[in-house]
Symmetry: C2
Subunit: 241 residues, 2 copies
């Protein structure tokens, strides 16, 4: 892990950007005692997502956690994936034509992303948890929900996950979801234009955890109400501290 | 309104039982400043429901509200309804036979209950809000969800409602739900054996409020997790105080 820059934000949060095996990432910490780590998921494009990510990271640090995020494969400054770009175009065409999105399009778009992103997340956990002031347990918060589900299945250091149901989910991931056992809070924007509500509810139903909660709110993809931030704080406080 | 008994509970909550137009009810208050009122809904049978109701009432009073509840038509010591008893038996037969519950059975069971209970709730609000130490705004918390929906449509003093999706809902009530505008928190027990999940989700979708939130949790009808009590406190704090 190679640190590329470090600065202290106005509220005293230490922000460090890093490169790990060629993947850009950001780590946010406070100077204080060893903290559990929350990995922040996002749809890709670190600089585009930065304002939302740093706001969530500030919240995490204020609650006594460290927060970190990685660039997704094929996004931001990382080499693009022709397969993903083509699948994304096919999906957009289907949605704009008002047609149902074929499973094979969702598989082409999401499965390679999961296959690549999850090992990268786990390698990042190895590196981040080796840093002073960062310790387990680990939480995951955000999308891509298929990445969060696979990570919850394969990563024993993950103690709780807040999953944002904001993207298409391959059938295979819905099947894998039955193996998830960690406590879950699933956020669903009821009127999310880019989301398949039926698919999101099927995924929630499939998740194997005995503690799983769905919070559905009116509004579109980016319309998550402010009070859900407080609910997320309490969810992680119950399971990470 | 005729007070039938008054006592102070161990935690200093004043509990008064009353009869209003022949309907038994219970009022819980603290000695302190004028408080908003939360009307507690339940499936009927005050004495059977008392332990759960008094626990919720203690919570309400601790949060600075007054709480009250009324016996439902046809339940507890009130005259039974042959129509409702027959419809309940038909519903039970259908469920035990694994058959879909016909809309006309749900209508026969629930619509007369709504027609009678909602005016009774409104008359109780008239009487309760006339008492010293009780004031608006008013919240509704619990089931029967069809009663809560109709009350939210017709009662202007209602400022927020926490609705428990734990019973069958007539199509007519789903249609009426589009007229609801107050902030809503809808609780759904995902594995509720006595509830139709699809119907509950259709009702949530139909509700017209711009602020509506669904909290779905694993478990059966009575398995609402403890942390939902905290969420309910925060919901009413946002809208009643």
């Amino acid at each position: 892990m190679h640190l590329t820059a470090a600065r202290r934000l106005d509220d005293g949060v230490d922000e460090r950007t890093f490169i790990l095996d060629g993947i850009p990432g950001v780590l946010w910490t406070s100077g204080s005692a060893p903290a559990p780590l929350i990995l922040l998921g996002h749809p890709g494009g670190l600089s585009r997502m930065y304002p939302r990510l740093v706001a969530r990271a500030r919240r995490c640090v204020a609650q006594g956690y460290a927060a970190a995020t990685l660039e997704l494969p094929g996004c931001g400054e990382r080499p693009r994936s022709a397969v993903a770009d083509e699948a994304r175009a096919d999906l957009r065409r289907a949605v704009q034509a008002g047609e149902p999105v074929a499973d094979e399009i969702v598989d082409r778009l999401v499965l390679p992303l999961v296959e690549q992103a999850v090992p990268e997340c786990r390698a990042a956990l190895d590196a981040l948890l080796a840093l002073p002031g960062i310790e387990g347990p680990v939480g995951y918060a955000g999308g891509v929900i298929s990445v969060g589900v696979r990570l919850a299945v394969v990563e024993p250091r993950l103690a709780a996950a807040l999953l944002f149901a904001g993207s298409y989910v391959p059938r295979r991931i819905v099947e894998e979801a039955r193996q998830v056992t960690v406590p879950l809070l699933v956020l669903l924007q009821w009127d999310d234009e880019g989301n398949d509500r039926r698919m999101a509810l099927d995924l929630f139903d499939a998740l194997g955890s005995t503690e799983k909660t769905l919070h559905a709110n009116t509004g579109g993809h980016t319309g998550v109400p402010e009070f859900e931030g407080d609910d997320a704080d309490r969810f992680f406080a119950r399971h990470l501290t």
